[in-house]
């Protein structure tokens, strides 16, 4: 295996890798994917057992530092008010994501042109539109056509139920004359492509035992593997190797037994998310690339964007959905576009989060002081149980070079590979936007009949979205990869994950990450004869 040369070596098996591998498979090239985690078994997901909420604090925590699986690597995020959330395994972050699946808007690709801040993307909405549509079909997106907040698009199956919570909040939005719409969701409401429909387990964010949630291990990967792609699990890449012509020659990795290998390849594609990808590039140091691979711009690891989240939750007198049903429900994009009168640039989406289970209800109540210790505990708990619903405001983050992923000086993973270090500051713009989101969220909850409201902004553990650290662009001085994902410096090295994002938009990124991966794969296929020119 050590001297075996494959055509395409993909590093990482998450959302972007799956889409890219699926698309490239039709070329019949030999494609190998190295993934540091393993395959997930639906029977292992917490919703199979009584401790389904408790396991969100241990082996199914969104924090790799708390989860501490052997397949995880540590992340030093002490210097960030927002902590990184991820998952390492086939499917990557989609194993634990909620399945919110909004597209970007046309304006999201033209931030500088529209608002004089951030950067414009080198591509636009129309470039991605056909790949969004293909991705919707592969993923199986539920939703409803006709959303006035978007250009026309056609979800492939009906929307998730409104439930009691959705109806309550929809009425609140209507009372204020604000936009709302059923969320585009990567959750099947009908049997689809071998997956069964949602049965409202309510545990989407710790893996879907039903298989209704479209994690990429059960959407793209089975198709890609049937088409000949090989996935090698428990293989952790430490660095990408290069030759004297500045071409990538493959990657060094450790297998599950700790044995080191070098996998040679004609083309290398990084798909490790906005933290894992710069980590590997910065660790790929050589005399030709002393500052890390593909880093002549100095921008590898810079411009890290999260989405700062505000959580605004209301307590109601009557029973709502509680523990039943997916978190996804409806959203509002009333405040999506810039209105300078609000005191900040850009905007956010409200995503209704439906309800919570008995343990999380108790957490919210006790840690917010609404449920006391002692004799009054039970009565106070019952005033909250099945009576909380609310929303998150997912705020657009802007690229700032001082927000970075670097290599930690001392912290390493179990293979001795330097761990990533996050240095991130919340901007004044984000603070203003979060405050505005909390105020408007409070307003709509009261308009819906909430008797009490509590909030958190930013959500400390909410670093789900990792973007911008190897961004795309036409100018090699201002970007790491070109407009179709190829490194400016290393002509057979590609990046296809959220690292290439130029700006973050005010929506969840997975839909756009996968559409971009399909687009990059298509660009590669179109140029196979002169891919390295």
């Amino acid at each position: 295996m050590a001297e075996d040369v494959v055509d395409v070596l993909i590093i990482g098996a998450g959302a972007s890798a799956a889409a890219l591998a699926f698309s490239l498979a039709e070329t019949k090239m030999r494609i190998v994917c190295l993934e540091q985690g393993g395959w997930m078994k639906p029977s292992d997901y917490p919703s199979n057992s009584r401790d389904w909420e408790s396991r969100q604090f241990s082996d199914f925590s969104i924090s790799p530092n708390r989860r501490g699986r052997v397949t995880d690597y540590p992340i030093n995020d002490d210097a960030s008010p927002i902590k990184v959330a991820n998952f390492n395994g086939v499917g990557g972050g989609t194993i634990l994501y909620a399945g919110h699946y909004p597209r970007f808007h046309p304006s999201d690709f033209r931030v500088r042109s529209c608002d004089g801040i951030g950067e414009d993307w080198p591509i636009d909405y129309s470039t991605l539109a056909p790949f969004y549509a293909e991705n919707d079909r592969m993923t199986g997106v539920s939703g409803l056509a006709g959303d006035p907040a978007y250009p026309p698009k056609e979800p492939v199956m009906p929307p998730l139920p409104l439930g009691k919570s959705g109806q309550r909040l929809a009425a609140g939005f209507n009372n204020l004359g604000w936009h709302w719409w059923p969320s585009d969701s990567a959750i099947a409401t009908q049997a689809y492509d071998g997956r069964d429909k949602c049965i409202n387990l309510g545990a989407c964010v710790s893996g879907c035992a039903q298989g209704a949630k479209a994690s990429s291990d059960i959407t793209y990967w089975p198709h890609a593997i049937r088409a000949g792609v090989e996935v090698r699990t428990h293989c952790r890449v430490s660095e990408i190797t290069v030759d004297k012509n500045d071409m990538a020659t493959g990657a060094v990795y450790f297998d599950e037994h700790g044995q080191q290998h070098h996998q040679r390849a004609e083309v290398v594609v990084l798909a490790c998310n906005g933290v894992g990808t710069p980590r590997i590039l910065l660790n790929s140091v050589s005399s030709r690339f002393p500052d890390g691979l593909a880093n002549s711009s100095g921008l590898v690891g810079k411009n890290l964007m999260f989405h700062p989240y505000a959580s605004i939750q209301g307590i109601f007198d009557d029973e709502l959905d509680g523990y039943a049903g997916p978190g996804n429900c409806i959203w509002s994009q009333e405040f999506y576009e810039t209105d300078e009168a609000r005191g900040y640039q850009r905007g956010f989406t409200f995503e209704i989060t439906r309800g919570r289970g008995p343990v999380m209800t108790a957490f919210n109540g006790m840690f917010s002081g609404r449920i006391p210790w002692g004799a009054d505990h039970h009565a106070a708990y019952r005033r909250l149980f099945n009576r909380i619903t609310g929303m998150v405001g997912i705020c657009e983050d802007l690229p700032e070079e001082h927000n970075t992923v670097t290599l930690d000086d001392t912290l390493t993973d179990t293979h001795g590979i330097p761990a990533p270090k996050i240095t991130y500051e919340l901007s004044d713009n984000s603070r203003q936007m979060l405050s505005f989101a909390v105020a408007r969220g409070t307003e709509v909850l009261k308009a819906a009949g909430a008797i009490d409201v509590f909030s958190e902004a930013p959500i400390r553990v909410g670093g789900w979205h990792l973007m911008g650290t190897a961004r795309m662009g036409k100018d090699p001085q201002r970007s790491v990869v070109n407009e179709w994902g190829r490194s400016h410096d290393v002509r057979n090295l590609f990046v296809c994950d959220g690292s290439v994002f130029v700006t973050s938009a005010g929506v969840n990124p997975t839909c756009t990450i996968q559409a971009l991966a399909l687009y990059i794969a298509d660009a590669m296929k179109q140029r196979l004869a002169n891919l390295f020119d």
């Binding site: 408790s54 439930g163 109806q167 049965i199 004799a375 039970h378």
Partner: protein
């Protein structure tokens, strides 16, 4: 409280388990009205001991702190009379809110999955999968005013 072997890498001593049960009962006492046990109930405590492994040191520190705060009285925290226990528990929460938070977190994780507690909340004592739950589709006429809006996304 039995002396059975606890399935943990570092089981608590008998005295530590008594203190843990005592502080748990102060946090969530039994309630006849709702027909629920206190969090110091033996079955709940056994579950708690199974999951505290990841926070073992914090629990030890919390229990040590409780004993230290009790040292001026009769001895261990669990041996105090109820009013004294309540007073020490209050001081513990004020002095070591971080350790109290760990205790609360672990206790809630096991208490609110106990069969008796779920039954009192009219919840079936089962895993979500495979039966799932029912959620009503809802009144989609609520969407009518939004459907009537003109597209408002920003043209570029």
């Amino acid at each position: 409280m039995s002396d059975q072997v606890i399935a943990s890498d570092k089981p608590l001593t008998h005295a530590e388990r008594r203190n843990l049960a005592a502080i748990s009962d102060i946090m969530i006492p039994a309630d006849i009205t709702y027909g629920v046990p206190g969090a110091g109930d033996e079955l709940i405590q056994n579950e708690l001991l199974l999951i505290l492994r990841t926070q073992h040191q914090a629990i030890i520190n919390a229990l040590t702190c409780l004993d230290e705060l009790s040292s001026g009285a009769a001895g261990s925290f669990a041996d105090l009379v109820p009013p004294e226990r309540a007073e020490v528990a209050e001081r513990f929460r004020r002095k070591r809110g971080d350790l109290a938070a760990v205790l609360v977190s672990l206790t809630l994780q096991v208490y609110y999955r106990d069969d008796r507690v779920l039954a009192s909340l009219d919840m079936e004592p089962r895993a979500p999968y495979p039966q799932g739950y029912q959620v009503e589709s809802g009144d989609w006429s609520l969407l009518d005013p939004v459907r009537a809006r003109e597209p408002f996304y920003r043209k570029v």
